[in-house]
């Protein structure tokens, strides 16, 4: 190899952005096309520095917009190589047209999405509005709760996305600032071990094979469009989850770090449970532990995989629970939150009639405190005791002014 390997300590102090950049370096991306946006920018800056220092060989194109970033990534991926980029919020919104095109063309691109609120009002801080906005775009979506997971899930994402049975792009989410800019100890893999896990890129239908020219991105209309989208949807629903579990298992064998599409905490005998994403998961786990000392059998579910949605795993994890809170960090303008809806959908055809309530929290970087979660768990217990949801179905946590709730 014509570039230098990087000596890493077993544990490095990295923030989520740098952890993602390191995973991209170790995966030896061929092409990155990117545009800067807070809070994801340090990922591509890190990658550019690795290139400048000779720690990776590849091409970095600093394009003129996020839409062009993903357009370039699509062209590069279709040409036949490993491709990744990063974005957030408004950048993702501008890029969103091309997300559907990448997944429709079955191109295994990895996108680091550092979650941030969508304007207006303009806000650079973290929430999940951007993640939810593209939830139906045909991308696999992982969620990292901390920098360690941002590192690990990047390596895992390439393996899953590039599998020739899967061939779908993947997003690795992490919370803006709370994960992306917070440094923690990260257990590392050596360059050789990490690349050995991700593996060499194996092109499929690549445009640079001049003996076998290919056509990408055709027109279909009503006579074929349905079949293409149905096949893509079916593959996402049936092929991806088994592949993810297989790659998680391989990763555990390699590192001892165990991942699951649905991360359960104290769920074996839980009466009440919170389902959430991102950094809130760790806070909720902390509070659940405390609630146990107060006689409330509390558990937490953190969603590791958002797309494909783990319906069966969720239903299984919740089968003995009496009251559930779905925590959505986005404003589902005009509807119930995504998690509320998906969990309701997962349980509907089961015997489980647990009481389900939805909470909107943390918009625009607002903290979710332990005190919030204490009262939330108590509310769930009150629901269990009363045998019904005692408050309104959708409530806001920690918003100033008159109490907001509906349904």
């Amino acid at each position: 190899m014509a570039f230098d390997k990087m000596e890493l300590r077993d544990i490095e102090v990295w923030d989520g952005n740098f952890a993602a950049a390191q995973a991209m370096r170790q995966s030896q991306i061929d092409v990155v096309a990117a545009y800067p946006i807070t809070p994801s920018t340090p990922i591509v800056e890190g990658y550019a520095q690795f290139l400048a220092d000779g720690y990776i060989e590849g091409e970095f194109v600093m394009v003129e917009s996020e839409h062009a970033a993903m357009s370039g990534c699509i062209g590069a991926a279709a040409a036949g190589g490993r491709v990744a980029t990063a974005t957030s919020s408004q950048g993702l919104a501008l890029m969103s047209e091309t997300l559907y095109q990448a997944s429709g063309m079955r191109l295994p691109i990895v996108l680091n999405l550092v979650n941030r609120a969508l304007a207006s009002p303009l806000n650079v801080n973290g929430d999940h509005s951007d993640m939810y906005m593209v939830r139906d775009s045909g991308w696999i979506q992982f969620d990292a709760f901390c920098p360690q997971e941002a590192y690990d899930l990047n390596l895992i994402a390439f393996r899953v996305a590039e599998d020739h049975d899967v061939r779908l792009p993947a997003i690795v989410n992490q919370d803006g600032f709370m994960t992306s800019h917070t440094a923690q100890g990260v257990h590392t893999l050596t360059d050789d071990v990490a690349y050995g896990f991700v593996g060499e890129f194996k092109p499929m239908n690549d445009m640079l094979d001049f003996e076998h020219p290919v056509t990408h991105g055709v027109q279909t209309e009503e006579d074929w469009h349905f079949e293409h989208k149905a096949r893509q949807h079916n593959d996402l629903m049936t092929k991806v989850m088994p592949k993810i579990k297989e790659v998680f298992a391989d990763f555990e064998k390699l590192t001892g770090r165990k991942y699951s599409p649905v991360e359960k905490y104290d769920m074996d005998d839980a009466d009440v449970c919170v389902v959430c994403l991102g950094t809130s998961v760790e806070t909720a786990r902390e509070v659940a532990k405390e609630m146990r000392t107060q006689g409330i059998k509390a558990g937490v579910i953190g969603l590791r995989v958002i797309r494909p949605f783990p319906f069966f795993e969720i239903a299984e994890a919740l089968k003995n629970v009496k009251a559930i809170a779905a925590l959505d960090r986005s404003s589902p303008n005009g509807a119930a939150g995504m998690l509320f809806n998906e969990i309701a959908g997962s349980l509907y055809n089961t015997q489980n009639r647990a009481l389900l309530s939805g909470y909107i929290y943390g918009l625009g970087g607002r903290d979710l405190t332990k005190a919030h979660l204490v009262s939330l768990f108590k509310e769930l217990q009150a629901n269990v005791d009363a045998g019904k949801v005692t408050t309104q179905l959708q409530q806001f946590i920690g918003v100033r002014g008159p109490k907001l709730a509906y349904l």
Binding site: G58, E59, V63, M207, F210, T220
Partner: protein, 318 residues
């Protein structure tokens, strides 16, 4: 260096198409297919192609068929240039890493887009590609209108033309603005080569395409593409209309090297009055009413002034 075809005459040229099939859904008389064929016929190089959403795309790659016998990609309306730039970047990356399947090949990267997809919605993407210096060629199929969506004005639509969103009517003569000068804008990026071409002057076009493919860096080609449905002329007259466009100097053929050196590549022996060009097309029919005759005069003055300007630029070598 690129591998050029040595073509002796039009008959040989017209039968040497091997990468763009005559089997496509473009309208009879559409200049798009002629231009694409002329571009592809100019070279024997391996090609990686893209097309923006538009007539060319929807008529040549309708699943499960394709008219293209070369790698081809379509993403969206605005980003055919960036799609090819991405592929070119991957080629560079894999070459550097020694991972090309056929390392001896020297492919060329070409994007096609209409004027809507180039002058308007795709403008930023093309500008980005030109500024970053990708080794690629962007070809505009300039029919001066959004033809694929039914004839709306673009910023390439010339003044006085009746388009569906700037129609001529009882109190309007149609489009009110002058056509955007894309050649100057693109040349201002300092790119190694920009040229205007026309399908009737096929030798001139082949020469320019071959030159464009042989230079390192981004190349911009603006090709006039008469549209039978939106310019409203008989399909058999495509080449006649193109002749009028080049011979009236409404669409002058020239090139700009390194953003500065301008060469006029075609000087009509007998310059045709602009009026003849306008009269041959239904989109300008209303200009021949008495109250709009002044616009035809203005047209002629504008074309004359532009021609004088191009000649001054050519002479002064600036």
């Amino acid at each position: 260096m690129s591998e050029m075809k040595n073509i002796k005459n039009l008959k040989e040229f017209s039968t040497s198409a091997d990468r763009f099939e005559g089997a496509n859904l473009l309208c009879p008389g559409c200049a798009h297919s002629i231009i694409v064929r002329e571009v592809l016929n100019a070279t024997n190089d391996d090609l990686v192609l893209s097309a923006s959403t538009g007539c060319l795309e929807v008529c040549t790659a309708v699943y499960p068929y394709t008219s293209w016998d070369a790698s081809w990609i379509h993403i969206g309306f605005e980003n055919s240039s960036t799609a090819v730039a991405g592929a070119e970047t991957m080629y560079k990356a894999l070459k550097k890493k020694g991972r090309l399947k056929q390392p001896e090949r020297n492919p060329k990267f070409v994007s096609f887009a209409g004027d809507g997809a180039s002058y308007d919605i795709g403008f930023q993407w093309i500008s980005g590609c030109m500024e970053r210096g990708h080794n690629m060629m962007h070809v505009v199929l300039d029919n001066e209108v959004y033809a694929n969506t039914g004839g709306q004005r673009s910023s390439s639509t010339p003044i006085g033309s009746s388009a569906t969103t700037s129609p001529a009517g009882r109190v309007s003569y149609g489009e009110k603005r002058n056509k955007k000068d894309m050649m100057s804008i693109m040349a201002a990026h300092g790119i190694p080569y920009a040229a205007q071409v026309a399908p009737n002057k096929w030798k001139d076009m082949v020469k320019k395409i071959q030159h464009g493919l042989s230079v390192e860096g981004p190349v911009f080609i603006n090709a006039v593409s008469p549209c039978t449905t939106e310019w409203k002329f008989d399909p058999k007259d495509t080449m006649h209309i193109t002749d009028l466009a080049t011979d009236s100097l409404v669409f002058p053929l020239y090139e700009i090297i390194d953003g500065t050196e301008l060469n006029i590549t075609y000087r009509p022996k007998n310059v045709v009055p602009v009026e003849e060009y306008l009269a041959a097309q239904g989109r300008f029919k209303h200009l021949f009413k008495d109250e709009y005759k002044y616009l035809i005069k203005e047209w002629q003055e504008r074309v004359d002034a532009k021609w004088a300007y191009l000649q001054r630029r050519e002479e002064s070598r600036v």
